[in-house]
Symmetry: C3
Subunit: 330 residues, 3 copies
């Protein structure tokens, strides 16, 4: 008789003899920050913290030895791609790097579901970066293996939001009670939208500092209002900086402005320098999703409050945690 595989199942087909599969995220997709509650976040950050301790103590360990990650990037993102590659390799797993999909099957017209169903024949988990909103959800609908959304257009980038929050937890040892100020382009930045949503699970105060034309979208503000989050909007940083525990800086892109005079006037108002930071607390952190292009002066980099490179390192631990979790090893 022919050997027929069951067409769709949400678990790895490879069940090594006698192996335990545990954890609340085993076989799950990571698609959106909306899928997490506070207990989920505590669980993820607990595992991420263990990953950090293991990496600091022994550098790498073979928790995912023999597992394969398909790193499927429909648009380039060195930072995110490298971070997932390193995360898999530090856990002893292997990576299939796929960076040129625009030149290959997809260029021949293949659909995302077919590409994903092909790759899951080779890999145990798929990380997907795609320029279109909803791409990860579509992929997850067809895939038997776990999908991790590494950014889908202006949609979600959940692992970025998780690493942002893990940075805050790790650096300040708390989230409840903090004042978080988001600065720059709050209209188009999916990073700040996702982070704001995650923060709304905690008891925080949010300040939004932006030019008039780049304000936080009304639907985000309303969504957080319904959760009783105190939110205030400003156009300059100086009135909120002294009370800020977390300053989250984003890039204000020239292309967003029709009026270049307006851009010029705004641009310099939002540059973080050692001088500006004299007004801030001693114990607070400055974050940035990177890359930066002048929003934070390099003179500030050696200040202990400059957390943006450490933020990258926390991202490694969060992604190690997610990979281990969806593969049933944490």
């Amino acid at each position: 008789m022919a050997t027929y595989y069951p067409p769709f199942r949400k678990q790895s087909p490879y069940l090594p003899f006698g192996e335990q599969r545990t954890g609340r995220f085993y076989g799950k997709d990571i698609l959106s920050v909306k899928q997490f509650n506070r207990a989920d976040l505590e669980y993820i950050f607990g595992v991420a913290h263990e990953m950090r301790e293991m990496v600091e103590r022994i550098g790498t360990f073979d928790l995912l030895k023999g597992k394969i990650l398909a790193n499927l990037f429909y648009e380039p993102s060195t930072r995110t791609s490298s971070s997932f590659t390193a995360a898999m390799e530090r856990l002893g797993g292997s990576v299939i790097p796929i960076n040129e999909v625009r030149y290959s099957s997809v260029a021949k017209g293949e659909s995302l579901p077919d590409t994903v169903r092909t790759l899951e024949c080779y890999a145990d988990v798929i990380v997907l970066r795609h320029p279109e909103i909803g791409a990860s959800a579509l992929a997850a609908q067809y895939a038997r293996k776990p999908i991790i959304n590494a950014g889908d257009g202006v949609g979600e980038h959940p692992t970025q939001a998780l690493l942002d929050l893990f940075t805050i937890v790790s650096e300040l040892n708390q989230v409840d009670g903090l004042t978080v100020t988001m600065l720059g382009d709050l209209k188009y930045g999916r990073t700040v939208h996702s982070l704001a949503r995650l923060l709304s699970l905690y008891d925080v105060k949010l300040n939004y500092v932006s030019p008039e034309i780049l304000r936080m979208p009304a639907e985000i503000i309303q969504e957080l209002n319904e959760k009783n989050i105190v939110q205030k909007e400003f156009t300059t940083l100086d009135e909120v900086l002294p009370q800020t525990d977390v300053l989250y800086v984003t890039r204000v892109q020239k292309e967003r402005f029709e009026n270049m005079d307006e851009y010029e006037s705004v641009k310099d108002a939002y540059v973080i320098t050692p001088e500006v930071m004299r007004e801030a607390k001693d114990r607070m952190i400055v974050m940035h999703p990177l890359p930066r292009v002048g929003e934070i002066s390099m003179e500030f980099d050696n200040d202990p409050r400059a957390a943006y490179f450490r933020q990258m390192e926390y991202g490694l631990y969060v992604r190690m945690a997610l990979l281990a979790m969806v593969l049933g090893r944490a």
Copy 2:
């Protein structure tokens, strides 16, 4: 005295102490389906089946630990490249991915023999995809290490033909006695040419269903006639579908037609849908080399006869087998 290496030798220079090198393909190149007889195929499929059992039981194992594959792709092919990468990684080996040769040394004018002789200084086996017919044979002529042809232009793509046949063997447990129907573009598809050649080693009946202008080339038909293979040609599927055990679908590309009316009339006649498949046997399989672009409707994907994604998985096992064999481990 100077240390002079023997210039050309067809075996790995690395002979770990006390290690056994066995198997009929140790140190051999995999260049063409024409190099295999029936005993070879049984040997390959036996190893591939073992690979499958190992992967299903433990996911990965260290048979090729410490071996390095140079994955040299002069033209992009995500599917084939990923499959070989996964095959090597599931055997515990490592991969040097080389996807941009057009931008590098080759762009500076380096010859294929020089590129291959450089890469074999670093790797133990080379997988080569090249747009020109005969490229793999040329490379093999100069290389000391084994070359595996992963497609050379309109020439050969032997590992595709092997995985196609392994799919048939695995799904239907036999080849002798089967009726295989090839559908679509039979003129330009190297896939169907190579598969037809391999099938001619068995006692099969072949049906060719294609538009007039995309018929199976006369030299293939003659070659198989000499081996007493029963071959019949058709322009529509309905008369042969009920007797078909293996339906091999390929893409009919618009660009092949001068007359768009002819294309339009033909196009829909060759689309596989659940409705069309009502006329087929219950126990048969539908195959496709992928990517597909509408030749098989997605509604058919959940039918147990839809074997095209399983086909990808069989490809992994065949490539694992070939890598292990040419490196003397199977």
Copy 3:
């Protein structure tokens, strides 16, 4: 309290419990041939020779298991990139391949220091290829982890010079007393400049054979004069070939000439053929940094004096040695 990392430190942050870190290059950058003295070279070549013996005996070993190399190439170089990848993999380590930086963060305007400081969050060592002179030194200034310069524009390519010298040492068992003839484009080739500098640490005679417009730069000649190295310049090879122990061939590029007649007359004078080589010693070697485009005829490849492919293999061992050394394992 917040967990603040010390901002800059020249050592791996991962110090596995009980692990020994030794060696004169532990945590160091490899930026320029100028940083080495003769004792350094002996140390490096000693380790490289051990690497060769290990590879020849067992193919690969886990000296750098768990270590991660970020292979950061701002311009393509299949040869150098593959060599470092293989070197890391033969030592049991992993690689993050980054070949498309022009399309990613850097395209968004990110500075090299930021890119390097991000990557060192994921990796233990960074290999950098960059089109601008001084790029590696800039990167090293900001990085906590070791930087290995894999070529920065017309500047340095120290690992090429080291592998060139290691080839000479391995093939001829000595450097002192040798006559080294450099042939071709001596003006623009950073390879010959770096090698000449390294050779000046030894007691060698140097012959420079080139067209008038492609002579060895005056500053190199002066630098070596100060070290009492005997240097002679020629325009044809025949008068020095019989005394030559090492013939280092480079490519004469058409684009360097304004006068095409001059190019045509010169071109053929510098092509190495079996006939030309009849005038050379029996025991000498011909080297070339590769890729070659006609400077050495393929008919010469099987001559035991043709060392240019072995040169690639020596490059693997030198790069294995450097990686092991800067990571404190040799």
